[in-house]
């Protein structure tokens, strides 16, 4: 099964990629190729037929994970498997580490990238919730230079983000959550493995209980969302099951059930129920085991 014909260019740097984008903007549709595990299947089935493919996966300045005292800088072309294997990510961004470990399967994680995942903005992808919970900043390069987009403002809708057609997501900055408890709980689609519902949780705690909480969900709405009512209910709460259950029951408070995703596998009403259950599981997993991840079905 071959994709339609296209021209392929391998960008050897960010500027080269931006030049190629500019050069081919008139020629027809142009797509950026990262790990290719969303784009190539779409091209093979004819859902996507770009005229030009610009491969950005080899750009050196967009690879790898670096940590300083304040946080992580992750190149957009860093593969899931590198996130999963990284001690720095486990330490400083435990919710992201947990979510990355639940993307696809081993082979997919060996190819797919964090930047491809976030820029593609599949509503059912596993990383948007974790990016929101981790308070990530997404760094984008364009003709006018670099700009930073907070994760809270990055996702617009299904497959739509704040990244412009002449721009490129180059890296993801994450403030250190060293010492916080993080987890990701996911209800995978039985066929595709994508998240019907996925909840990423990051909790700061002290001896008295929870001091701060950031909770992000994917698979529920047409883009990743923060679950602010849950965060509010947890903050200054104690670390017991009642607090967690009460907080999780508020997972859908800010969300319009009529606007939730609905498909053959789960109606919007069912997703609303799953959201509460998986919020509770994510919170419980975060508290019980610093960076554990849960894939229950």
């Amino acid at each position: 099964m071959y994709p339609d014909e296209f021209d392929y260019y391998n960008a050897d740097g960010v500027d080269d990629a931006l030049d190629l984008l500019d050069e081919h903007s008139e020629a027809g549709t142009t797509e950026l190729l990262a790990g290719g595990h969303s784009l190539l299947p779409a091209m093979k089935t004819g859902l996507s037929s770009p005229d030009v493919l610009i491969d950005i996966s080899d750009i050196e300045t967009m690879q790898g994970i670096s940590a300083d005292g304040d946080g992580l800088s992750i190149g957009a072309m860093t593969r899931y498997s590198d996130l999963v294997d990284s001690e720095e990510v486990a330490e400083h961004a435990p919710a992201l580490a947990a979510a990355a470990g639940q993307v696809g399967d081993v082979q997919v994680r060996n190819r797919g990238t964090i930047g491809g995942n976030l820029a593609h903005a599949d509503p059912a992808a596993d990383l948007p919730g974790a990016a929101l919970a981790s308070d990530a900043t997404l760094v984008v390069h364009g003709p006018d230079g670099e700009r930073e987009i907070p994760a809270d403002e990055f996702f617009f809708g299904m497959y739509t983000t704040d990244v412009g057609p002449d721009e490129l997501l180059t890296r993801i900055e994450i403030p250190s959550a060293d010492g916080a408890h993080g987890a990701y709980a996911k209800k995978p689609s039985p066929s595709s493995g994508y998240a019907m519902v996925g909840v990423a949780a990051l909790l700061d705690t002290d001896d008295d209980g929870i001091t701060a909480a950031r909770i992000g969900a994917n698979g529920v709405m047409d883009h990743g969302v923060r679950l602010s009512p849950v965060e509010d209910a947890l903050t200054d709460g104690s670390l017991d099951g009642d607090t967690i259950e009460a907080a999780a029951n508020r997972a859908g408070d800010d969300l319009d059930v009529d606007m939730m995703m609905s498909d053959l596998q789960a109606s919007n009403e069912f997703r609303a129920q799953l959201l509460e259950v998986y919020t509770e599981r994510a919170l419980t997993a975060a508290i019980e085991d610093g960076s554990s991840s849960v894939a229950a079905d």
Binding site: M1, Y2, E5, D7, Y8, G36, L40, D105, N110, R111
Partner: protein, 172 residues
């Protein structure tokens, strides 16, 4: 439509070939180079029948452009046996009846081999996670898990006694 001259090292043999932009790695391997051991299954990166090693990592070769693999070392099922003898993973599939129709087997063995490279002494959960991306419609997976365990034991036994003792009996 652009064409590209690429170089692939397959099981240690270097090949130079010209591919269209849209040629997938699995088709370059099978149709251009004759490595037909790698199967094409679902075509949608779900079933894992096309799994090969790309610079040592298990990947699905139906979801990778051949041009993206330019300069890479590719490992296929044809490269598992050495000097006419089965590799431990192949022996495991034979001894433990890890296959029936055999269609998933090359990809399954490459995925398992990738696991054993990373983790020489996996438990059952780790084996099942490693082959999560490979579908088998015949065996129900149990015999495949047994085959991987067989290979792990085989490889552990052939490791030198000093090494086994030094690294704590093969545990990570």
């Amino acid at each position: 439509m652009t064409e590209h001259d690429i170089e692939l090292s397959v099981n240690g043999t270097t090949h130079e070939l010209t591919v269209e932009s849209r040629t997938l790695l699995v088709h370059a391997l099978r149709d251009e180079l004759g490595y037909t051991g790698t199967n094409v299954g679902c075509e949608s990166s779900t079933c894992g029948a096309c799994t090969v090693h790309l610079d040592g990592d298990a990947v699905k070769s139906c979801t990778l452009l051949a041009v993206q693999a330019d300069g890479a070392e590719i490992g296929t099922v044809e490269g598992l046996a050495e000097d006419g003898s089965y590799a431990p993973i192949q022996e495991g599939f034979q001894k433990e009846h890890g296959l029936q129709c055999g269609y998933c087997t090359p990809g399954m063995m490459l995925a398992a081999d990738d696991l054993l490279e990373r983790n020489p002494d996996p438990d059952e959960d780790e084996i099942r996670e490693a082959i999560e991306g490979n579908l088998c419609r015949c065996t129900g997976y149990q015999n495949i898990v047994n085959a991987v365990e067989f290979a792990a034991n085989e490889m552990g036994e052939t490791a030198s006694p000093e090494m086994t003792a030094a690294d704590g009996g093969g545990d990570d």
